[in-house]
Symmetry: C2
Subunit: 204 residues, 2 copies
DNA sequence: TTTAATTAAACAAACGTTTAATTAAAACAT
DNA sequence: ATGTTTTAATTAAACGTTTGTTTAATTAAA
């Protein structure tokens, strides 16, 4: 049996991701997690501290993955970019409810402290990508591009697909019941698109 | 003096965009708009119907702009893409609170009817871009690319910048008080990035 | 005189949080 | 090992607010 604290965190994460922070009540969370209402405040102190616990619990994993790619000396720079794309698509599509939660919180301007902590957790990932592109330019493997906006394109394309299943399916002309994110073929398609895009944009 | 109904809609839009649907109370709206609490329900029936009124009120404008570009025979296809980029960046950056509101609602899976209506309003814009790229490929001006994901890249890049001022400024190494969206230089920078990206990706 | 607009007050329901009482677990001394 | 004490976990109930909505009365406009 799982740790009760962890169980509450994971239940709350899925509810927050689907219904938003204000849209999810502590009673919702307690019922879904099959624990007493008061247990949530007993473990986390308050609703907002629960939210912060979720962010802390889930973060830092992505950074480790990207760091490995950055320091892998077997890769050329464009191969590193390819590896970043593979890693990002897999990670965001798999943990999509968490990432929806993060971007939902970012898009609102409430809870300044929490937003700062989210940005603090996201930016290091961007910096790793920045380092790769910068090094690629220095070694003349890459053209001189707008690095920051290239990162925005990379992450933004994936986020655009992640935003809403309904929008995604309408754009792709798929039926309503289709779940693109779990489809290996679709993941491959997104990876291929981003790789081709980056190859033609970055390489001399 | 403005129409009272319109005044409520515009006030509510800004509040919803900043604090989300559940985070904004009718009392908030009434106070900000300097009208009596009961007037909101008097004019719109309910909070949810007010929300729908906002979406209907603001939509359709973008479509007209894109349609003009699509049917302008003076443009080559890549020039049409450039025009779409200019038009999108200007529109989304200027009406950013409305677009944040839309994407905030999309990212949640609540209120199915409303989400459907948002998607119905967004998809035609994507189809216009699709038509341009398709025609460009047919006339051999463009390479054979993944059209749907190219659209996701176009819109996703802009949305990624629009998501959060804090994230945007940290990525760009700007100070906290800087407002990138109103800066003409920054708009130009985003446009240039997207154009160069699309040129190297689309053109043979 | 009739209709529309506006108001303050009240409604029930849901919210996050706290309390006080009870049960289970852990630590301790014998 | 046993009984005792102390701490942690769990519960149902209640707290004071805030929520969206409705009502009934009043004022303005047609």
């Amino acid at each position: 049996m799982k740790d009760k604290r962890t169980h509450i965190i994971e239940t709350a994460m899925n509810l927050f991701a689907g219904k938003g922070y204000e849209g999810t009540s502590i009673r919702d969370i307690a019922e879904s997690a099959s624990v007493n209402l008061a247990m949530v405040n007993y473990y986390f102190g308050s609703k907002e501290k629960l939210f912060e616990s979720i962010v802390k619990y889930k973060s830092s994993l992505t950074r480790v993955l990207l760091d490995e790619i950055l320091h892998n000396t077997k890769f050329t720079y464009i191969e590193k970019i390819d590896a970043v794309i593979d890693s990002y698509v897999e990670r965001l599509f798999t943990h999509r409810s968490f990432h929806r939660l993060i971007y939902h919180e970012l898009i609102l301007n409430q809870r300044d402290e929490l937003q700062t902590s989210i940005v603090d957790n996201l930016i290091p990932n961007s910096i790793i990508i920045k380092n790769i592109i910068e090094a690629g330019i220095k070694k003349n493997e890459f053209k001189k591009v707008d690095i920051e906006l290239t990162i925005a394109t990379l992450i933004g394309t994936i986020n655009q697909m992640l935003l809403s299943k309904k929008f995604c399916n309408r754009l792709l002309n798929k039926e309503l019941s289709y779940v693109p994110y779990d489809d290996v073929k679709f993941r491959k398609r997104v990876k291929n698109h981003l790789k081709q895009l980056m190859h033609s944009y970055l390489i001399n």
